[in-house]
């Protein structure tokens, strides 16, 4: 049964309120060039963008464009952004906490921890280890690739999927390749890791709250254990170029409902500065030990032999600079969270334009993104 969201005159939009950015922060010597590059990002057809940076000069943040086009609500740095797949890094940290506590062995079969009611949906589940889930070498099929799932999601924007629903979409499908033989990114791996963490802790979201959010005092980072999850009035509206024609529509209802259903592979919302605080805390050993962080950075190579992914952490090269972190993309949003060890630079940048389906707007946005990184790094 479809129901209308009660909070907005626009059926597909959400109410959003202005917020009060945190005071303080330092001047940033590159602020002018970064702001100009983000201006180009906005002029390329992205509704709004927000960025937070931590460098040797301290903290700096900036936002431009609209958090909601219809009401001309300006994007602010205090608005909550969808972290999308960056959530995987948070969950990986939680799993690695369990590893540090001796509650999970990375090279044990996932069936050691995953209840049979879930593992029964996965072909050759006993051949897949926890590490293979973390570094995307499991070969488990992608639920997102199911046309039935995609069609159902679009036709039923208010439907709440349960974790087991995602596993049903891959039921009886053979593994895409022999477990451990190669890297191939699959959201399903992190749905399973969330279920494993549920089985070991009772509630993976609460465990993330305890082991990450509270440890770093993140008060503007929210996940599914929060009673007001995704209903905070400072969450940005999101936009989607449905027909790849450069025209965007407000997809906030679909985006919110979709994210509310996602488990482990997506789901966290945060302010830009708190996203950076998370990665900074991780890299500085505040969440897991230095030794475990090295395990997290045991990179799996891609088909070209280049380091690509650790345990919930991407290895990227951006404008020639090595970076660790994660990117995220959704129906109505996209973001990147990276640490550049060579420059001791942390950056989080988010846009409220969908990135999972192609749009001609992405061409200009991609060029502007390069300029943002040039301004930050070169």
């Amino acid at each position: 049964m479809l129901s209308l969201p009660p909070c907005s005159a626009y059926r597909h939009a959400q109410l959003i309120t202005p917020c009060k950015p945190a005071e303080g922060g330092s001047l940033y010597s590159r602020a002018g060039s970064v702001e100009r590059a983000i201006g180009e990002l906005i002029n390329s057809g992205v509704p709004g963008a927000a960025i937070a940076v931590y460098s040797d000069e301290g903290w700096w943040e900036f936002a431009s464009g609209y958090a909601k086009i219809e009401d001309k609500v300006p994007m602010q740095t205090c608005h909550l952004q969808y972290l999308q797949s960056v959530t995987k890094t948070y969950l990986a940290v939680a799993v690695l906490k369990l590893y540090e506590e001796g509650r999970i062995a990375l090279d044990s079969p996932m069936t050691t921890y995953l209840p049979e009611k879930y593992s029964s949906y996965i072909v050759d589940a006993e051949k897949v280890t926890v590490r293979m889930l973390l570094n995307h070498t499991s070969g488990i099929p992608e639920y997102n690739f199911s046309p039935h799932y995609v069609a159902y999601l679009l036709q039923h924007p208010d439907h709440k999927f349960e974790p087991v629903d995602y596993l049903k979409y891959i039921k009886n499908k053979p593994l895409d390749f022999a477990p451990g033989s190669r890297y191939s990114y699959r959201n399903t791996n992190y749905v399973i890791l969330a279920l494993i963490t549920d089985a070991l802790t009772g509630d993976h979201a609460q465990f993330i709250e305890e082991t990450v959010f509270k440890r770093l005092d993140l008060t503007n980072t929210f996940y599914r254990n929060d009673a007001h999850y995704l209903t905070y009035p400072t969450i940005v509206n999101t936009y989607w170029d449905r027909y790849s024609d450069g025209i965007v529509e407000n997809a906030s209802r679909l985006q919110r409902s979709n994210v509310a259903s996602l488990v482990g592979d997506d789901g966290i919302v945060a302010t830009p500065i708190e996203a950076v605080k998370f990665l900074k805390g991780l890299m500085e050993g505040k969440l897991i030990s230095k030794a475990t962080l090295e395990v997290m950075k045991s990179w799996t190579n891609d088909s070209k032999g280049q380091p690509r992914y650790g345990l919930g952490l991407s290895h990227a090269t951006i404008n020639g600079h090595v970076a660790y972190g994660h990117s995220g993309g959704g129906i109505g949003a996209g973001c990147e969270l990276y640490y550049f060890p060579g420059e001791n630079l942390y950056i989080f940048i988010a846009i409220n334009l969908g990135t999972v389906t192609d749009s001609p707007l992405h061409t200009g946005a991609g060029k502007a993104r390069e300029k943002v990184y040039q301004a930050l790094l070169d």
Binding site: P47, Y152, P157
Partner: protein, 193 residues
């Protein structure tokens, strides 16, 4: 509601069956549509949330009821993925199964104008301006199966039917070039002398 009523009335009329010779080209075909963005035979109940109407006609390709070419125009309302208007033609093979009851297989091509479910926007000179619910035209290939009952009386031919159509829609967006849509149809074809 009146269309539904006509379907049942029509069914009573066709119960007074007659022969193939009464068949004439260009009956008026009225349909009630139930549309969904779905894979074939998946979540069929969701079709009934999205109602539409259609009008069409058909012409025999061999002088009988068995091979016909149909032309239809339909509109549907779909609040989740956007409303649509589709013009399509299908060649239908309609073998009689038993005593004026027939099955039908049909395949064709069409043009779907699919609108957006929400107000849309584009940038012009640095400002966001409304683009309304501007839609997109896409080619479709509708494949359908039907069951119906044909009847003839001294002054009318009336056939009532139910169809299930699966449509492949081409060019939805750059990442999903081919999308599945389904339609459940109930309808009646009417031809007066």
């Amino acid at each position: 509601m009146s269309l539904l009523l006509s379907l049942f009335v029509g069914f009573n009329i066709v119960a007074q069956g007659d022969t193939e010779q009464n068949y004439q080209n260009f009956p008026i075909v009225l349909t009630l549509q139930f549309h969904a963005f779905a894979m074939p035979f998946q979540s069929v109940l969701s079709n009934f949330s999205n109602v539409g109407i259609g009008i069409g006609t058909e012409v025999s390709m061999n002088g009988s009821h068995e091979w016909v070419q149909q032309l239809n125009l339909m509109w549907y309302r779909n609040r989740a993925i956007g409303n649509g208007v589709m013009l399509y033609t299908q060649a239908a093979w309609r073998p009689e199964v038993v005593s004026d009851a027939y099955g039908e297989l049909k395949l064709g091509a069409g043009y779907l104008l699919s609108f957006r479910p929400a107000e849309s926007y584009k940038q012009a000179n640095g400002q966001w301006i409304s683009a309304g619910r501007k839609g997109k035209g896409m080619l479709t290939i509708p494949l359908g199966v039907s069951m119906g009952y044909k009847g003839f009386s001294s002054d009318a031919f009336v056939s009532s039917f139910i169809s299930y159509q699966f449509m492949l829609v081409r060019g939805y967006n750059a990442s999903i070039p081919l999308v599945p849509e389904t339609i459940v149809q109930v309808g009646t074809a009417i031809q007066s002398d």
